[in-house]
């Protein structure tokens, strides 16, 4: 593992963690359901960045690209279904407020 590749990985790693935490914060704190989706999307962005950096720093960029392509397709489907669910909630409750979906207790 070349020295500069290691330092490159750690630098990007810190930023990946930062983006990950922004995503978690957004999901945990927001009042609007769509923002939750945006938060989830941020998380995926962080993961993609990490894979690309891992691939680049060890010279396996081709496999990394293949992984990223697959990942993006899967994430699109997930976000599409999530958006569907959010819209159904909006239709059912009339609002996108998070309070609507916290009555399954106990």
């Amino acid at each position: 593992m070349s020295k500069d590749a290691a330092s490159l990985f750690w630098l990007y790693n810190t930023f990946v963690i930062l983006v990950f935490l922004c995503g978690i914060y957004l999901v945990a704190v927001t009042k609007n359901l769509i923002k939750v989706l945006i938060g989830l999307e941020l998380l995926t962005k962080a993961a993609t960045l990490l894979i690309i950096v891992a691939g680049y720093s060890t010279g396996h960029i081709a496999t990394a690209q293949a992984l990223i392509i697959n990942l993006i397709v899967v994430e699109v489907v997930v976000i599409a279904v999530a958006a569907g669910v959010v819209l159904s909630i909006r239709k059912k409750y009339g609002s996108l407020n998070v309070k609507n979906i916290s009555n399954l207790k106990g």
């Binding site: 990985f9 989830l40 993961a47 060890t58 496999t63 489907v77 997930v78 399954l104 106990g106």
Partner: protein, 474 residues
Amino acid sequence: MTTLLILVPLIGLILVNLPFKNARRTTFWYAVMLSLMQAYIVLTSDKIIWEGHFDPIEEYFKFNLKADNLTLVMLLSIGIVAFCALMVAKHMIKDEGDLANFSNLIIIILAGMNGVVMTTDVFTLYIFLEITAVTSFIMIAFFRDKDALEGSFKYIVLSAVATVLLLASIALVFMVSGGTSFEAINRAVHANNENLILTAALALFTAGLLIKGGLVPFHGWLPDAYSSAPAPASVILAGIVTKTTGIYSLIRIVNNVFGFSGSIKNILLFVGIITIFVGALAALGQKDFKRMLAYSSISQVGYIVISLGTGTELGLIGAMFHLFNHSIFKAQLFVNSAAVEKQAGTRDLDKMGGFSKKMPFTGLTSLIACLSTAGIPPLAGFWSKLIIIVALWNSGHPVFAGAAVLASVITLGYFLVLQRKAFFGKLAEGYEQLCEAEFGLILPAIILTLITVAVGLLFPLLSNNTLIPMSHIF
């Protein structure tokens, strides 16, 4: 040719949904055929399927899928539970179009779980986990009523977080090992053990899978998702999906890829024991039939994880056996709850009472399932819990073994409360004209009960030809 288990559902899926006149009506029967074929193949371990080589398929689709004993057990339980879910779906979903959609979803989730179970590549595992997850989101939110949407959304959020953790861990592992297949990672792990990146990767992977498996600190989504899902969805979800995505992949990753290290054992033991107790105690005071079953399945999954945590071969056998048993009697309990929900129209235990007079089959089968979960001797649950407790004892964790036994007392406690409130006692007023569910709903319950009782009674001779070989996946 293990790939057939993935290709046939995929091709079938395309054919069945072509715009012919009544092609969609055959979806349900195609799905039933698929699940039964799968169960049949595994039981008879038909030579043609496993060793047979079809040159055309072989030449095009060179997948490196591997099926050892653990996979066989999982495939068997997937087949059985999928079949039961379909039977319940047939009777719970009246609309023709919805039934076709639901059957399609079941075919996809069947293929997805087969993929998870047979893959030998970490990233492929991620993809098939995502397939299963997406399909279960859709199944939970199938009828789009208030609770179902809420349960589905919570599952989406937490599952997404889990997926990101898995991806991060895959990235770390990819960096160290250069490839994403299990052997490559295994070589890398053996090449430079005690490497910090790999331990971080294992930590993230375990956390992700624990979220998907629904163990205590991460279990928030499970009760809401299971109790709000429509009946057939909760049968297949509670029955096999969580265990395949969560526990099976945990066994595969921890066992084959990263190997057992001291800290992973402690983590699994600790998480396991907390899950058992929190699940059992939470289930004790529940008012809702399905929510109590959800908490009870959290607690039983805790047993599987604690048995895995021992790290010994016997522990692994106990985990796998309990995984199979639990998927059987948990699916059956959800089938019973579906029957009660369909006939009595309510899931609130306080309003129920004395149903076994009017619904003898449901009452009896749910009683047997409850006793088996609690581990009463003649039934299958007893043997798997026995192996787990013996494994715990031998591997030098007597305190955990004692705690596990105490927890099974609490398990018996809340299940007897369930039975007394729902089935025994005098008939609650307003349910005089209650009648037994149709044959379609009782059939899966009876099949599952027969399996539980058969495995329980035949355990001695069953153990040496199925359980022992199962441990050779080390």
